[in-house]
Symmetry: C2
Subunit: 206 residues, 2 copies
DNA sequence: TGGGAACTGGACGGTACGGTACCCGAACAA
DNA sequence: TTGTTCGGGTACCGTACCGTCCAGTTCCCA
């Protein structure tokens, strides 16, 4: 395990972040007590406060520590084979992965957690949005621009097109999950959203 | 005033709901104390508990009392002049009103309030979504179906098309507002989203 | 192996909140 | 005037939680 390669302090630090992530996700910011976190991390509360000055700081750390996972997402949208024949097929494949990644319960739960506390931590929500979703959108925009340069798409504003793409795909399932507290869609639903969304997108931008 | 026409009890009831709405919107469910509400309503806490058994019940009442305001929204999307020449113009006009209504700070704040507590009150979030947005979408779907019957649009699944329409328009500003805790867009932004969204929609469905 | 930093467990102060009990004063009847 | 009822406000109770303190222990590393 990587644990053994670190010092004790680093290990505790990681245990706290992991435990805090789990509890915050499950019970929300106000519903989570520092005692809960300490207990789950198998650590004394004192230690928690040694690593993080207070609850707010710990929450920020937890939220921002999730933004590095978007790199995989960025790789996903960084390129699309530029073949006219299979454009719809390639886009649909991309849409499937896009959807299945962003509709994972964990992702949606994190999203709800941040939105729920955006009034108390507005800069945190903004930071997460920038470092997370906006980076993906920007990458997707350059990919679309490249396709437009090769004459496969007709695009004025690539970033707007990227937003339209994601909106067509995600609006329905994300909305439902936000209001119901948990994902409501089946795999078949996602398939439908993917194909229909890509179809609409190509109608608009090809 | 209508107040005087009601009994004192009904007046107090209304005062409590009004005050509770304001405080819940501003400070969220956990951040709001029953004392806050009683104070703002100029009523004793005892009276609050006489009208509502507990805090949860009061919250439900407050949230569900907002769903009747969607009737105006439904009227808005219930019909579109079916003239081929001005279809884009008519849709754009609809889109403008659609956007300016649903991006009002109050509406977005309410949305955030419900999402934030959807894990504690899942049935409440679901109920609000059904009685609110889904009714609007259903109406919009029948409107689209009518346009399709007259050959102005080419639509397989009207409800999906209505979702695409709203997704194209709302995805960007709603997302931003959710994560920033307050609306971020200017009127010019909304105009852009409206025209671009309608343009994309017509590209996909005409 | 020894010294020192990091950790433990518990207790505690201060505070805020949900919900309840009790008291007070007004209105009304006799 | 006296008695009674009823609604509203204040004080209160129990609880939960954040953050701190302290005395004793464990673990890392030189």
């Amino acid at each position: 395990m990587a644990d053994t390669a670190q010092g004790r302090s680093a290990r505790k630090h990681q245990a706290i972040v992991t435990a805090a992530t789990e509890v915050f996700m499950a019970k929300g910011y106000p519903g989570t007590s520092m005692d809960d976190i300490a207990k789950l991390a198998a650590v004394s509360k004192q230690t928690v406060y040694k690593h993080f000055t207070d609850k707010e700081k710990l929450f920020s750390e937890v939220v921002l520590s999730t933004t590095d996972r978007v790199d995989a997402m960025i790789d996903l949208v960084a390129d699309i084979p530029a073949e006219a024949d299979t454009l719809e097929e390639n886009l649909t494949r991309l849409a499937h992965r896009f959807l299945s990644t962003l509709t994972q319960p964990q992702v949606l739960q994190l999203r709800r957690l941040i939105i729920a506390n955006a009034d108390i931590f507005p800069e945190l929500g903004a930071a997460w949005y920038e470092r997370g979703f906006e980076r993906v959108l920007a990458t997707l925009a350059t990919t679309f621009q490249r396709l437009a340069d090769r004459g496969l798409l007709r695009i004025d504003d690539p970033l707007l097109a990227a937003n339209h793409f994601s909106g067509l795909l995600l609006w329905i399932p994300v909305n439902q999950a936000m209001f119901h507290g948990a994902p409501q869609h089946t795999q078949a639903d996602l398939d439908r959203y993917a194909t229909a969304g890509v179809h609409a997108f190509l109608g608009a931008y090809r």
